[in-house]
Point group: C2
Chain length 228, copies 2
């Protein structure tokens, strides 16, 4: 992992816990930066108890262990959410000269002003990004690739942990959503996948979006058209 | 674990993954029933990346591994949530003679009718139960116990996985929220804790609620008033 880079690893509840233990061994326990819960909001409900309707994204960064610099663009509007209703009602009692509602807190002798309309930093539970399935507004994004993620999810991740000009790598890039999001946001990208379908889908999608790229190396297994 | 019983284990992101691996070893991987994400909705946002604003509850049941009977009271109104807006708009197009909106699906040659006003089974991400901190409506519940959970959280769990008359056990019962919820819902309860503060808080609370109980055994360590 490069200095300043954050690794996002997306898994479901059947695999995430073992993966966390394995990543702790690989990167060191201190490199664990936290986790995000993505609730796409759709999906069936099983008959036999609670259906698990979320997936987990584990975050690791070398700098987390060393108390070093972690890239996190908290001011990005996509990384903010409205203050809780109770908080708004209890704490935001002042208005500035432009009529904007704010709260003031004094911490360590220094006054901090929080504006209601700027919202608070996004927490770890993301319920505002619907999944691809059965959701009409997202159909135009669809490539038919089985595990395709919505662009908004990857856009938020790219915005959160990289600056324009940085390189975003997705080495299991599937249909290429991460690469498209990175390119649109002015990041450089590196994609990889061992699946022929992913390779073809991602290339076609980048071409369709008019995004320039070069193919560095095509392994033998992907040249003969066989799905490894 | 008793036949038909479900174990709920509540932890945060720093501990939950290791606990999952340990529980898999203890109960068998097949006994893992799923997990619930509880997002209390309040709490500070750290300066250094995504603040983790949720906690995880792991679910295990002997019967899960054996494909046996798992108690899950899905029809309980507290175990249901409104259908997603997109689903309501797309699928609920019929009205019955009482004017109730419904959707009909034919699965395996059999027609199933779903009523919009009954909602769908609750998913695994619970954002509708605020935590205890800085939340005025919950202050009357407060005992001052440091890790106290809201009664609504425990009430939902007790309703989900037990029938009236069943026994609910909380062997790290803290301030006794589980015991109070169980008693109110007509369940029998067994509580335990190795902390003097928990023991005193839970007893006082049960007394205040007028809930009858008997003390089976007070270990030596809890008799002398020392916090172990």
């Amino acid at each position: 992992m490069a200095e300043g880079a954050t690794l996002y690893l997306h898994l479901d509840h059947r695999a995430v816990h073992d993966a966390k233990v394995a990543c702790d061994r690989l990167f060191g326990r201190g490199a664990f930066l936290g986790e995000i819960i993505w609730a796409p909001g759709n999906g069936g409900r099983g008959a036999r108890g609670f259906s698990v309707t979320h997936q987990t994204i584990l975050l690791y960064a070398r700098a987390a262990g060393e108390r070093g610099q972690v890239v996190y663009n908290a001011a990005d509007p996509m990384l903010r959410e409205p203050f809780a209703e109770t908080s708004l009602a209890m704490h935001f009692k002042h208005r500035d000269e432009d009529g904007r509602l704010y709260r003031e807190r004094v911490l360590g002798g220094k006054a901090y002003r929080y504006y209601a309309d700027e919202g608070r930093r996004l927490g770890s539970v993301w319920t505002d990004i619907p999944g691809m399935v059965a959701n009409t507004p997202l159909r135009r994004e669809g490539t038919g690739y089985p595990t395709q993620k919505p662009e908004r999810l990857l856009e938020r991740i790219v915005r959160a942990s990289s600056a324009p000009g940085a390189t975003v790598a997705d080495l299991m890039c599937g249909s290429g959503t991460t690469l498209v999001a990175a390119a649109r946001l002015g990041r450089r990208f590196v994609g990889g996948d061992r699946s022929q379908l992913a390779f073809a889908t991602a290339r076609e999608r980048l071409d369709r979006e008019g995004i320039a790229y070069s193919v560095l190396e095509v392994p033998e297994a992907l040249r003969d058209g066989a799905e490894p």
